[in-house]
Amino acid sequence: MSATLQRHTTRQLTRAKTTLKCTSLNSTFASRCNSTSVSNEHYNVVVAGGGAVGSVLARLLLDDNVGGSNNRRPIKIALLEQRPSPPSLNNITSKTDSFPNPRAYALSPTSLSYLGPSVLQSLVKSNRCGIYDSMQIWEHDGPAQLHFVGDDLEEAINDGRLVNLNTYLDRNKDRTKPWLGAVVEDASLVSAIWDELRTDERIDLLDNIQIKSIESPSYDQMGKIEPPPHVNITCCRHDETVALSADLLVAADGANSFVRKCVGNFPMVTRSYGRKAVTCTVEIDTSKGNWGMAQTAFQRFLPHGPIALLPVWNSGDQTDDRIYANVVWSTTPSEADHLLSLSPSEFVSTLNHYLCQGPNVNPSLLPNSVSSNTSILTKVAKEIDSLLRTANTALTIGTWTEAPSRNFFRMPPRSVGVVSPILGFDLTLSHVSSSSVNGNRRGGYTSPRVALVGDAAHTMHPMAGQGLNLGMGDVNVLSNLVKEAIDSGMDVGGTDLFLDRFNDDRMLTGWGTVGGVHSLHEIFGQSGSVPISVTNPQSQGQIESVGGIQGLIGYSRSMGMNIVNGIGPVRRALAEVAAGAVPRGLP
């Protein structure tokens, strides 16, 4: 793995010589622009991309409560969005025949706090949050389960290491249980934030805008020319050329970031998971009462990836008796394509079949060839095998934890229908990398006057729901640094001071998260059983064991999950990491 990374890094670095100027490759748009030049407007920060990450960054930059200075100086920012500006949240929620959009994110409590009280309140009140205060994770070929509950975060909240979201929502004083997170649709999230941004005059919201070229200072110019040249952005908007300049350009324009490619100083490490995710919104069966979903996030690990069933639209006053859930099913591309080709009813029955199962017994640790052998050694091995597997099952069924309530396995509710289009997308691991040239850093999250945030800098497997949360961490750190710079009267991109701190912080966190999720992917990819195939309906029966080292890894993982589930401090530490709490012992 490390060798691959190295190769990627060097190859991309050679390509990523310091670029002075690059123009849009997209000539069709360029031809539509006539050459009317608008006066060169200067901003402190220009955010390219008005999606979830970009708009939250803009919101944090404008939030006077963020950052520690009493001496608040004026800030001027621009938000560039290629698409038309999103409708207001009221327009979205007033549509009565709508259903939850499958493009949704799982946001941790820390990320939700970055939305600010008013945005969060409007999302909750308009029933656009899928709050979950418990989470059940289990596997397909073993008994092991992990149960996280909101109470696991109580300690962190009391210690002040994690934000208490209930203080953001005056209305929900009765809801005292801490949230593990909430699922928010992309469209509702962006609309709610734009609603707030529209009221602020320190920000220029430029929609329908196409970046044509970016002129950023080279590494050599930094520190030699005083003050260092600004970053100049030429855009096309309504057939007009718009020229902007900024102290700092932030690329929040997604995984295929145009800014990143255009500036070109950002070598990326990419690695395909060989997996594709299928996502849609389903309606949940409420014939047995509507407690089935009950603010729980379910995730079952299959050998090729997990199926997640996440609650959506449950934060309102429950006037609607229909209950929806968001499905994210990661699997191999061939199986994903098979799922995408299914009719909605076939998809629902396949989903129910693979999700509503468990807990099982671990597959045999001995390969099938051993069973025909009748030597005494085989008999002893079989007894030990049986003992180990039974013990692990007993550990699960006993559900011994220090928690006041025993967390039994809960069967996820069955789905009755698909209410949205079924979407598929490929999963890739990517992260920016950096190297050192003559003792100076090249690449990473920043280059002179340019910073990457969110998917522009990293993408990962959705199994831990950390993709957007990592991006939210990026924008939180960056907004604090920008404010620190502005409040101290400095040019945030003019020195390495702030951007290096941003890079150092995010490189550590980013690689940690991406690496952690990747190792989860690898660990859960090991299975002691022959992978069941979605495409072949004949194979939906018994689990066949392969035994050997794979079986041993699968068994250890299973046992490990059980032990983590039983040991409170370990389980709480995991829940805190996922919630984005400050680790114990840090200031």
């Binding site: 017994v361 069924i397 006993g398 011994w400 025993r406 396995f409």
Partner: protein, 322 residues
Amino acid sequence: MASRCTSYAGFCRRLLPSHPCLSSNPTRTHRPAIYGTTHHENARHKHTSRCARHHKRSFSSAPFYGEPAPPSSRYNQNTSSHIPPLSPLQRITTLIHSSITALNDPTRADAVAAVGEVTGSYALANMRNQMQNDAVGKRILQERPVVDEQIAKRAFELLNRHNQQIGNTSDATSNNPITFAAAYATFLQTHNFDPEERSPIRFIPNPELAYVMTRYRQCHDYFHVLTGLPPTVLGELALKWLELMQTGLPLAALSATGGSLRLDEKEREILWNVYFPWAVRVGREMRSGGLMCVYYEEEMETDLEVLRGRIGVEPAPFVDGV
């Protein structure tokens, strides 16, 4: 009716010379107590021969854990109203000693019971809390009903009445609902069990928790009736998984784990493919602790099917050829 061990032969307690366990009666047949905390089994020939082997190993020569020591005055049964608490060291040594004893000789119900008592305090406290939060469970804790000869007598009366009713009806094949008591009496009769033979509590100082443990042991036969599981190794193991889900007692887990070693391959397959999914399904559908919060003594005349439906117990699947 065969006898069964009721006292604990640890280093802190010794069997009386007159105790049936020491009488070298080779014909006694014990059900390995690890499969259930009550009575013996005489239904299965294979099983009996296994027990006989154990019996020989334990008593033909001195067992490796030593000769039974004289009973300590600390655990005199006459003063069982007050049980002194165990220190952590005593608890651990008792656990190790009784586990070795029980593993060596599964017929030793007293040792199995001791393991259950010294490991179960956390689960018992949970069970008590569940019962206190339940109206019926609370009443059981207050009134403390016990299973004794009276109950059995009543059950047999009800069984007789039931049989008379069947005799009165001309059509013998008509669907005649059986009451819980009649089913219980049939169970006792078929397997020749005595409802009163149970190990006394020796290591749980809290009287309320001690009662919960007693109640759990006594209700074990009721669970057999409700689930329809026979007291065979396989049946006991299936019931143990359900009990583990319901009570969370580590003893149930230990029995289920250790007991599975006594199954052959075919039985194991049946256990995992039929009985285990059944136990998980039933345990999940039922609310936690549901089995313990039923006043079985008051349900004697209730229809078995009605009672099953109310508690949420689905009868165990019947597997042919076992």
